[in-house]
């Protein structure tokens, strides 16, 4: 069992900066852009994205957090008990460009659930998906718009994203079971 | 018919006997207690039971049983009730009149007697109703029922609320020398209660039957017994208050006797938690202090008799909302092991316990049984007081299985039940 570091602290920051630039480029700036992070680590990355946008553009996009527990399609199979956390989207989503942020995209089911949740809040003009790591193995026809790093992983491996806010340091590791 | 029971510990409280010995039975009667059995064993056709290490006692007598026939044969019949009794070590049972039709006239009494003779394997003695239809209004055909075989009267389950009617009943029975048995309960005070009023009923939100509803009626009936001089027998005493009242009454010479049921001296109202309808009976299971008072009463003789209030109900009738479930549990097949616990706990001696289940109940209802003296009817129980038993309701001979004791580990195994010299049950 060997842990492999695939992104260190510097590369995590560089990756997020690049994604921010791509977001601004594609959306011609930050007008009508709102950032929504998926609990829990997606929220931290979303906050960093919002901070950088504010630094570059001088305006801070609206920030929301999404708990997708109530939208999961795998409640039936869960072995770990799913606690419902707060969802906070305290602004109107109609005609907004929603940047949906998660740390890792894997099967695509979380993203699907998040998209469904966002649609319940309103009718955004677009939803764009940000992920720090795309580890493949998609089970649904869902692709991220912005990817930090694409990894070829085995299903048996686990990708762990550590962030300063939650874990004390920035680092992405692949853990072999 | 000759039967020799050899080498057991023979306990016969009526004669004060408690020693290792033999009991010889011939033609349905106890013939002798021979010291030397060689001659009898040599005789042709004598059946021999080796009772070494076992207790040999008069067959147990339960003076409070509901046989349900006629009218409620889905719960129990005279046949199944008698089989249940035999399995529990009982050779005589006394059945209450709340059948359908109610045993309030001689023809119902005769029907029960006939059924018992033809289908029952133990002796059955009916109790007649006090009032017509147990309505508490006018006296039932008490004299005719007495002639037909009733050994006492009671409106069990439906206490006579009108004190004047009760007084007249108590006066009237004097002509026949039978006692009045009272289910002492003030029905108004009980209201819609379904369990003991206490912290458990408060917690469960169930209607409570206060101890007072028994106490006030015991008090009334003792007062009427004093007024009339009639022998009053108080059924299934459940409260500390009743025990106090009865003790005081006995002390001043009132002609009163009393019984307690094994469930009342074993369980408390906590058994009702989770709405177990098999812990629903009337009188209800009471508080621990009541239970301890009953035990004290059994010990000092205030309570004369152990009787089960065997009240069979079908599974379907009990698997309903607690409020709707009928009152009562079966008792015949758990009575002996539960009573032996009193002996194990040092509350009663073994002869003392046997006395409360044989000679005393026989004397109260004048049954002429409950002893192993020569000449007595050969009703005998042989049991192993130390053998472990696990209560298994599915093995009950009773038609009904409603017991709160299922799965309990107790001691006391009935090996033989002998009625009139005939083995009617053997393990």
């Amino acid at each position: 069992m060997a842990d492999k570091v695939v992104l260190d602290s510097d590369s995590v920051n560089r990756t997020i900066s690049r994604i921010v630039n791509q977001i601004l480029e594609r959306n011609n700036g930050a007008a009508d852009v709102v950032i929504i992070g998926i609990r829990t680590r997606g929220v931290h990355i979303a906050t960093r994205i919002a901070n950088e946008i504010e630094k570059l553009e001088g305006i801070r996009p609206e920030m929301g957090t999404l708990d997708i527990t109530l939208y999961r399609d795998d409640l039936r199979q869960k072995t770990e008990w799913p606690k419902v956390e707060r969802t906070e989207v305290p602004f109107d989503l109609d005609d907004k460009k929603v940047i949906l942020v998660d740390d890792v995209i894997f099967t695509g089911r979380t993203t699907r659930a998040a998209i469904e949740a966002i649609m319940d809040f309103g009718r955004p003009s677009s939803i764009q998906v940000v992920t720090l790591i795309d580890r493949g193995h998609r089970e649904l026809p869902i692709q991220p718009d912005y990817t930090g790093l694409k990894l070829n992983t085995l299903s048996s491996e686990t990708v762990r994203v550590h962030l300063k806010e939650a874990d004390g340091k920035d680092e992405v590791v692949v853990v072999k079971q | 018919m000759k039967l020799l029971i050899k080498g057991g510990r023979v306990i016969d409280p009526a004669s004060g006997k408690d020693k290792k010995g033999n009991v010889y039975i011939e033609d349905g009667k106890v013939k002798s207690h021979p010291a030397d059995t060689k001659k009898i064993e040599g005789e042709k056709g004598a059946q021999v039971i080796d009772a070494r290490g076992k207790i040999v006692a008069p067959g147990l007598i339960d003076i409070h049983v509901h046989l349900r026939e006629p009218g409620f044969e889905h719960k129990e019949t005279i046949r199944t009730g008698c089989e249940s009794a035999a399995a529990g070590g009982f050779t005589s049972i006394v059945c209450m009149p709340n059948t359908n039709p109610i045993n309030d006239n001689a023809s119902v009494t005769e029907y029960i007697m006939l059924k018992a003779r033809t289908e029952g394997i133990v002796n059955v003695f009916p109790i007649g109703a006090i009032t017509k239809g147990e309505k508490g209004e006018t006296l039932a055909q008490i004299g005719e029922m007495y002639e037909a075989g009733c050994v006492g009267i009671s409106d069990d389950g439906m206490p006579v609320m009108n004190s004047k009617v009760m007084r007249h009943a108590m006066e009237y029975v004097k002509a026949f020398g039978i006692p009045v048995l009272t289910h002492a309960e003030d029905k108004n005070l009980s209201g819609h209660g379904v369990m003991n009023e206490g912290d458990t009923s408060t917690l469960l939100g169930l209607g409570g039957i206060p101890s007072a509803s028994e106490d006030v009626m015991v008090s009334r009936d003792i007062t009427l017994a004093e007024l009339t001089g009639t022998h009053l027998h108080i059924c299934h005493v459940s409260t500390a208050g009743s025990v106090r009242l009865i003790r005081a009454a006995k002390k001043r010479g009132v002609n009163v006797t009393a019984e307690a049921a094994p469930h009342h001296f074993t369980l408390t109202d906590r058994a009702v938690a989770e709405y177990d309808t098999n812990a629903k009976m009337n009188p209800p299971l009471r508080r621990e202090e009541d239970r301890l008072a009953l035990i004290e009463g059994l010990k000092d003789g205030t309570i004369d008799v152990i009787a089960t209030d065997h009240a069979p109900h079908s599974e379907d009738e009990k698997k309903v909302e607690f409020d709707l479930a009928p009152f009562g549990i079966v008792g015949l097949e758990t009575s002996l092991p539960l009573s032996l616990k009193l002996v194990e706990d040092g509350i009663l001696t073994l002869p003392g316990m046997i006395e409360k289940m044989t000679s005393i109940p026989s004397r109260i209802l004048n049954l002429g049984r409950g002893t192993l003296e020569a000449g007595a009817p050969a009703d005998v129980v042989i049991f192993d007081a130390d053998a472990p038993v696990k209560i298994d309701r599915t093995k009950f001979r009773s038609k009904s299985k409603n017991t709160p004791f299922n799965g309990w580990d107790l001691k006391g195994r009935v090996l033989y039940t002998i009625v009139g010299g005939k083995v009617v049950y053997s393990a």
Binding site: L75, V84 | T202, G205, Y275, V320, E321
Partner: protein
């Protein structure tokens, strides 16, 4: 911690952590209820049956909305006849509903313990929507939720429950819920309606209204059943109201920021005067809105426990 209960039958059997988890989950559900689209797919494909043996449109509606907001399929079975009258036993009725696919049964029944019977005999999850005089856990939880939102805590509060404690399932659930979370509970009413043994379940008994609400942070008024006046419990509604009806005058001794609750429906002028029912202290409508969120939380927790067990 994980919620591991297949049924919610009462607050007596829940511990403080479990109660807190329900309240926390209800916060998330309250957020769903505040959205334009008040619906999440959590219970999609689950059939929930509302089995009501009492005509309680209010409670049934609240449960039904909660079920629908979680995308459950809802089956309503309401009858004012008890099983005896119908000739079918409660168990047979419930088994029929289970055969129709219900995996969660919400039961309201006039007899204490009826939900226990179903929980013992059926495979479904049973949610008690009020049984006899026993418990009304969803009402207890929504009362806790309302007070926690309002005051930020339950611990240390003084709570007075006023009225017919003897026949009240709301009182029992409130007593368990508030005391488990650290509040002090007092009950007050005519002595005929205060169970003799109520202090065994951690509530202090009073017979005088002013004494009981002295310094109280929360006053919970119970609905008085009009039929009680015809029996021997108290002489008349007029006299009841005179001694146990809440008026501004009597409320003076309570804490300054006292909150007045009522499970509804209110008998105006009997349990409380209109100026209090409509006043700033009353949170009666807030209780109704919170009831939906709390019931959603109960469903979600039980459903998730079923799936993880």
């Amino acid at each position: 911690m994980a919620f591991e209960r297949k049924h919610i039958l009462g607050l007596e059997e829940l511990n403080a952590e479990e109660i807190t988890l329900v309240l926390d989950t209800a916060e998330s559900m309250r957020e769903v209820s505040d959205r334009d689209v008040k619906k999440v797919p959590a219970l999609r494909g689950v059939t929930v049956c509302n089995l009501f043996f009492e005509p309680s449109t209010r409670t049934r509606s609240s449960f039904e909305i909660a079920e629908k907001r979680l995308s459950a399929d809802v089956l309503n079975f309401t009858t004012i006849h008890s099983s005896v009258v119908k000739g079918e036993t409660l168990l047979d009725t419930a088994r029929n509903l289970e055969a129709m696919g219900a995996s969660m049964i919400v039961i309201r029944h006039p007899m204490s313990g009826a939900p226990w019977l179903l929980a013992k005999e059926l495979n479904s999850s049973i949610i008690n929507a009020g049984d006899g005089w026993h418990e009304h856990p969803s009402q207890g939880l929504l009362d806790l939720f309302t007070i926690r939102r309002l005051k930020g805590r339950i611990e240390g509060l003084k709570v007075a429950i006023v009225g017919d404690i003897l026949h009240s399932r709301v009182a029992r659930s409130d007593i368990w819920g508030f005391t488990k979370l650290g509040a002090e509970v007092r009950v007050v009413g005519p002595p005929t309606l205060i169970p003799k043994y109520i202090e065994h379940i951690n509530a202090k008994a009073y017979y005088n209204l002013e004494d009981a609400i002295d310094g109280a942070d929360v006053v919970i008024m119970l609905r008085i059943q009009k039929e009680r006046q015809d029996s021997e419990f108290f002489p008349s509604l007029r006299e009841y109201s005179r001694f146990y009806g809440l008026t501004r005058e009597k409320l003076r001794g309570a804490a300054k920021d006292v909150t007045v609750m009522h499970p509804g429906p209110i008998n105006r002028g009997v349990e409380l005067s209109s100026d209090i029912a409509d006043g700033a202290e009353a949170v009666i409508l807030e209780q109704v809105s919170n009831g939906i969120a709390v019931r959603m939380a109960m469903f979600y927790l039980v459903a998730s426990a079923r799936r993880t067990s």
